[in-house]
Amino acid sequence: MKYAYYPGCSLGAAAREYDSSLRAVCQRLGIELAEIEDWNCCGATPATTLDPLLSLALAARDLATVERQGLAMMAPCPGCYKNLRKASLSLAKDEELRQRVNETLGGAKLQRSPEVRHPLDIIVNDVGLDNIPVEKPLQGLKVACYYGCAITRPRGGFDNPENPQSMDRLMETLGAEAVPFPYKTKCCGGAVFLPREELALELTAKILAKAKASGANCVAVGCPLCHLLLDMYQFKVEARAGMTFNLPILYFSQLMGLAMGVDEKELGLERLAVSPASLLREEWTQATA
């Protein structure tokens, strides 16, 4: 199993632990990742805001490289995933548009659009839950699975946009309890948090409060922006909302790594703002399977 890996800008900086834990887990699962050579930023929402054609063209440069690799792309950041998937689909459908976009590319042109996939999709559907080697089941962890917006939307992706299941099933496979969580796909405001911080903090507060009320002792995510707001901004959200959450927010790949017995150095748990140390010490029963 081999995929063209598109880390995107966040996984080299704010979401380093997502990158290292995902790479480690993939290696364990026999998934080979070939990082896309000289990839550029997909432009995220700012490119679309300024010019839809610019957004397509930036995506097309990356897609064309992947096309030469002859692989499907794995994009762990849902912002990139959504952008690249949308671009790939619309350029496959619209010949005239593809030509216009190709004219803006100095290097390789795009012929056929490669497939763009999120790692959750690949792990659940290509590897299969039965093939995940669980060494230390996550007993005692009550996980609220927070998918956010772009893992399941726009619709037509790999999971249900209203009530997605892939991460819940994955957590159960790892031995954790996936608590019923009604805000699975409610927006955290990540895409507007710099120009509209107050709004994002308000949305994030709702998600954290609901996770707590659902009986979760931690939250699993698959998005650097969700993670930034839920984890790094948690103390700010607490101050503003006058509540205490103290909820560790982990990438699904970090939880996988713990259960699969991956070397903790690669999981980057010390990079989290809300430390999961006491949760893991006190709640994780660590019965070896």
């Binding site: 900086a13 610019l54 726009p154 209203e162 790094m232």
Partner: protein
């Protein structure tokens, strides 16, 4: 014939860009599912359903001068549920680019998007600290102080990159910006 004038809601014929959008929303039945699904209507001046109505009735200035598309968090909740399969989120993003082109633009939001893209134009990739600093300086330098505690926590956890991750194809990327008219700075 006199009645016709009363029935005509918009003041002017729509511009080319808005006429194209009008076609994409023609099937809207004003059910309000989009507004009910939207997490941020509180901060909007018009709800997504109202925006549809304003587009249908050629109220171009109200639409393009509105805050709605700038508040939109691109969460696709509305688009996932619209019974008429209207791509509402894409439409919001399109409204932003039309508003910029026609000179309606909330300063802070546009400053953010421009800084973001000028960094991508130069390095080929994002450099978050530079974005925060540039954005802070052009909008509200005091806000930078407010960001300091988070910046420090991120720094201690090795989550900030201070050197740009320069790609080899920078020229290629710059040329993409240049060939796409109106992109970038």
């Amino acid at each position: 014939m006199a009645d016709q004038k009363i029935l005509r809601l918009g003041e002017k014929a729509p511009s080319e860009e808005m006429a194209a959008l009008k076609e994409t929303v023609a099937s809207c039945m004003q059910c309000g599912t989009c507004s009910a699904s939207c997490p941020v209507t509180r901060a909007m001046d018009y709800t997504p359903r109202e925006i549809m109505r304003l587009i249908m009735t050629d109220m171009e200035e109200a639409v393009l001068g509105s805050q709605t598309m700038w508040v939109c968090a691109s969460c696709y909740s509305c688009a996932a549920r619209c019974p008429r399969d209207i791509e509402i989120t894409d439409l919001m993003l399109r409204l932003r680019s039309i508003a910029i082109k026609k000179g309606y633009q909330p300063r802070a939001d546009v400053a953010f998007y421009r800084h973001f893209m000028s960094i991508v134009r130069r390095y080929g990739r994002m450099l978050e600290p530079e974005l925060m600093i540039r954005y802070g300086l052009t909008t509200n330098p005091l806000k930078l102080l407010g960001m300091a505690p988070i910046g420090l926590t991120m720094l201690r956890r090795g989550k900030l990159a201070f050197k740009p991750d320069l790609i080899k194809g920078r020229r290629e990327v710059r040329e993409i910006f240049d060939r796409v008219e109106g992109g970038g700075e």
